[in-house]
Symmetry: C2
C-alpha cells in the first residue's frame, strides 16, 4: 500500500481537533510508542494522539483514511509480538485516557468500559460486587489490547479467553463510521457475529473504543497445589490426565526446571527445583474441593510425582501466581545483557506432551538457551529463547528453532499463537496455518479497510 | 438479485455429477423441502440434491454460482423461522446422507462430523466415551443446521450455545472454494475468526459440510427440581435471583400456567398447575449438589414458592426434560385446527421478569391466545401464539403483538432471536437491532457471495 507522508498540516488538524496537550510529536513520546515488550525492531510513529471519546477516534480515523495515513491503536505496550508497533509510521492512538468504567452491571454479570481500562484496575473496582473479568494475561494490559489480541492467561482453562467474555463492542471502522455490534443478552442468533470477527483482529479491521465484558462470580473457595516431577514428560502427561479426567481446574501451569530455578533465584523462592505444575481448584464447598485435590494428587502420583504440596493458604497462593506471572520478567532479570524471544503455540490437549518434548529437544539440538512454561491446561506452551540478538549466527539458530517449533505445533493441528497474537512475528506462519482461509481473511480486510490504514504490517498484507 | 431459471440442462448436470438417485425433481421431494416447522408460507425448490462429500458440494455450488442459481442448505427441517426455505427456488442441498461421525477424539474433548449428523444420534454414539455435545435445541436437528442457526437449548445456561462449542469447520464458499478455518487447539489468537463468522450465518456466507465440535464430560451427578409459584412474576424473579447468586444451574426453564396445563393434558402429567420452574444442577459430589439444591430452594421460598419437589430420580428427570422438549408439540396437539407462531427473544438477565410480564400482557391486550415458556436462565423467552392464520383480523393482532414484543426485547438491550435465528421471520427487525452494523454485515455478504446465490431471502438482502 502507498501511504502519504505525515505533514505539518496533518499535525495542525489533530492539534485543532483534540487540543495541543493531546497530540505530540515529542521525541520521548514517539520513542515510548516505538516498541512493545517483544524483541521486534522499533518503528516510530509520526505523532501520538490521546483520544478521550469514540467520536474523536472516528474523526481522526476518517481524516487519516482520506489522506492515506496509517493509524495504529495502542493500549499500554505489554504485547509480545510487536502487535501495536507503527510499522509504517503515521498516527498512534494511545488509549491511556479512555480509561473509564462506564457502568458496572453486576446484576447482568456485565460491565461497560472504555478500551483504555486496564484489566487489573477493572478487577479491583469490581471486587466489591463479587464479580471479576476472568481473562488474565499477567501484564496489566488494557481491555482494548486484550480484545485486539484475544488475550488469555492462567484462568482461561476454566473461564475461556477474551473472545469468550465479550458481549458488545463499540468499533470505529476505517472510514470513521461507528458501529456497536453485539447486545446485552446472554445469547443471540441474530445477524453475523461481528463481535467475534473484531476480537483478535489486532486493530486491523476496526478500532475498539468501548466494550461490554461478561463477568464471572468470584469463587467462594479455592485450593492451590504445587506438584513436582522427575521429568517434563511426566509433568505434561499429568496435565493431560488431569484434563481428561474432567477435573476442571481453575488453573494448570507448567514450569520447566530452568524456569523454577530462575524464580527461586529472582524471587527468593524455595520451590523444589524440578519440572513443576502449579494448579488451582475452585468451588462452592470445602468438601468438594478437597475431593478434587485428592483426585489430582492421585493422578500426579500415578505419573511418578516426587512432591505434592496442597492446602496452600491465600497469601501463599497469591505469591505463587505472582511468581508465575513474573516468570518472563525473572528470566530477563537473571540473564542481564541477553535478548529474548518468547514463543507461544497451542496444540490439542493430547499432543501437549509431544509438543513440549519436541520444543525442548529442538532448542537443545540447536544448542541455545531456553525456558519452557505455559498454560498447560489449554495446551499452550511458552518457550523463551535467550541469547545475543546482535550475533547473526545465534539469530540463525534461533530463527530455525522458532520455525521448526511453530511449524510442528501447526502440523499437530494446533496454532502459531495461543494468546500473544500474530503481530509482526507470526505473520510468516499464516499461510501454513490458514491455507485457503487466508485469502478470505484478506478479502474481509480489503472490504473493511480498503486503503490499509489500520495497523499496517500486521496479521495480513493487502498486497 | 436476478437469478436464472433452473433448466433441464442444469438438472442433467446435477444428475451426471451425483447420479440419478441423488438428484430429484419429484413432487413429494420438492414438497418436503418447501416448509420447515414454522408457520411461514412454503417455497418450492427446483431440485433436491443429496451430496455425499465436500467436493461434491463444492462442484455444485461453483456451477450454481456461475449460472446464478440459488443454493439453500437443508438439515432436517426442524427450524422455526423458515431458515432453510428456498425462497427463490433453485437447488436445495439436503445433508441427510452426509451423516458420518468421522472421528471421535474424546482425549481432546472433540469430535469430527459431517454436517448431516443429528445431534441426538451423535450423543448416543458418544456416550460410551463419557462425553457429549452439550447444545440441545430439543428437536433432533443436524449439526449443520445447528451451526447455521447458532442453535442452543436447555443446557446452554451452563455449556453455552453451538457458537461456544465449535473448534473448526469445513466450508464451501459461494465460488466453490473450500476453506477449513479453525484448528484443534483449545485456544488461538491467529488470524480472523472465520469460524464464528460462519456460525449463525444460516448458510448465507458459505455452506458448512464438516465440523469439529467441542465436547463436555458427562457429569457424574445431577439433581433436578420442580418449583411452582403464585405468579409468573414470582417465578421470573426467582430465575434472576438464582442466576445472580452464582448457583450455576445446568438448566433453568420457565413454563407458564397454560403450558403446564397442556403438558398435563397431552402427556398425562401431574404437574401442579401454576407458573413453574424446572431446574437441574450437576456436579462431582452428592454433597455439593445437595447444598446447591438447598440454596435454590431457599431462594424459591423467598419468592413465595408454593411447591418445591427435589430429589427427582433419573427416570423422572428424563421424563421431565422430555416434557419440556415436547412443550411446543403438545401445544400444537391440544389446539387442533389452529396455526402457531413461536416467538423467540432474549434479554439481559435483570430484564427477564419485565420482559415476560410485557409479553404476557401484550398478548392479553390484543386478546389472543398464547403460551409462555423458555430457557429462563439465559434470559430467553419463547411465546407461542395460537390462532387461525387464515383470519386476516387475527393476523393483524398477531403481527402487532409480535412487533411490540420483539421491539421491546431489543429496547431492553436484548435480541430479536435468542436461538431460532433470523430466517424469514426476523429479517424485518435487523435494522432496529443492528443499526449501523447491518451495513457492514451486508458488505461482508457481498464480498463472500457477490451473486447472492447462498440461501437468498434470509438474514440480509443484498439490494
Amino acid at each position: 500500500m502507498d501511504y502519504r507522508k505525515f505533514t505539518e498540516e496533518d499535525f495542525e488538524f489533530l492539534r485543532n481537533l483534540v487540543g495541543k496537550e493531546r497530540a505530540s510529536r515529542g521525541e520521548s513520546n514517539l520513542n515510548i510508542h516505538s516498541h512493545d515488550e517483544s524483541f521486534h525492531a522499533g518503528y516510530f510513529p509520526d505523532v501520538v494522539v490521546w483520544p478521550l471519546e469514540t467520536e474523536e477516534v472516528s474523526k481522526i480515523v476518517a481524516y487519516a483514511n482520506e489522506r492515506r495515513i496509517p493509524v495504529t491503536p495502542w493500549g499500554v505496550g505489554t504485547s509480545l509480538e510487536g502487535n501495536p508497533l507503527p510499522t509504517r509510521g503515521g498516527i498512534v492512538l494511545d488509549f491511556e485516557r479512555m480509561d473509564k468504567i462506564l457502568a458496572i452491571r453486576a446484576e447482568d454479570f456485565q460491565v461497560d468500559v472504555q478500551a483504555g481500562v486496564k484489566y487489573q484496575d477493572l478487577n479491583k473496582a469490581l471486587r466489591w460486587n463479587g464479580v471479576f473479568f476472568a481473562p488474565d494475561p499477567g501484564a496489566n494490559a488494557t481491555i482494548g489490547g486484550m480484545i485486539g489480541n484475544n488475550a488469555s492467561g492462567v484462568r482461561t482453562v476454566k473461564y475461556g479467553g477474551t473472545r469468550d467474555n465479550v458481549a458488545k463492542l463499540t468499533v470505529v471502522l476505517a472510514n470513521g463510521r461507528i458501529i456497536r455490534p453485539g447486545n446485552f443478552a446472554q445469547k443471540s442468533s441474530s445477524g453475523y457475529d461481528l463481535v467475534h470477527l473484531i476480537i483478535g483482529s489486532e486493530g486491523t479491521l476496526g478500532i475498539v473504543t468501548e466494550a461490554t465484558l461478561r463477568l464471572a462470580g468470584i469463587p467462594d473457595q479455592f485450593s492451590a497445589a504445587v506438584a513436582t516431577f522427575p521429568s517434563v514428560e511426566a509433568a505434561t502427561q499429568t496435565v493431560y490426565d488431569i484434563m481428561a479426567a474432567g477435573l476442571g481446574p481453575a488453573a494448570l501451569e507448567l514450569l520447566d526446571i530452568s524456569t523454577v530455578k530462575v524464580i527461586n533465584k529472582e524471587a527468593e523462592g524455595n520451590l523444589k527445583e524440578a519440572p513443576t505444575l502449579f494448579m488451582e481448584f475452585t468451588g462452592t464447598s470445602d468438601l468438594a474441593l478437597a475431593e478434587d485435590v485428592k483426585f489430582a494428587e492421585s493422578i500426579c502420583a500415578d505419573n511418578g510425582c516426587t512432591g505434592f504440596v496442597s492446602g496452600v493458604g491465600p497469601d501463599e497462593r497469591n505469591q505463587l501466581w505472582e511468581k508465575r506471572h513474573m516468570a518472563y520478567e525473572y528470566i530477563k532479570r537473571s540473564n542481564p545483557g541477553l535478548d529474548f524471544m518468547i514463543l507461544d503455540t497451542a496444540v490439542p490437549l493430547s499432543k501437549y506432551p509431544e509438543m513440549v518434548d519436541f520444543a525442548v529437544k529442538t532448542i537443545e539440538r540447536h544448542g541455545i538457551k531456553g525456558y519452557a512454561f505455559g498454560h498447560a491446561g489449554d495446551g499452550n506452551l511458552h518457550l523463551v529463547i535467550a541469547g545475543d540478538f546482535s550475533d547473526a549466527a545465534f539469530c540463525k539458530k534461533r530463527d530455525e528453532a522458532n520455525h521448526e517449533i511453530v511449524s510442528h505445533a501447526i502440523s499437530l493441528g494446533g496454532t502459531a499463537t495461543g494468546e500473544h497474537g500474530v503481530g509482526i512475528g507470526k505473520k510468516k506462519f499464516m499461510p501454513l496455518e490458514h491455507g485457503e482461509s487466508l485469502e478470505l481473511m484478506r478479502e474481509i480486510k480489503k472490504v473493511m479497510d480498503p486503503n490499509g490504514i489500520l495497523n499496517p504490517g500486521k496479521m495480513i498484507d493487502l498486497e
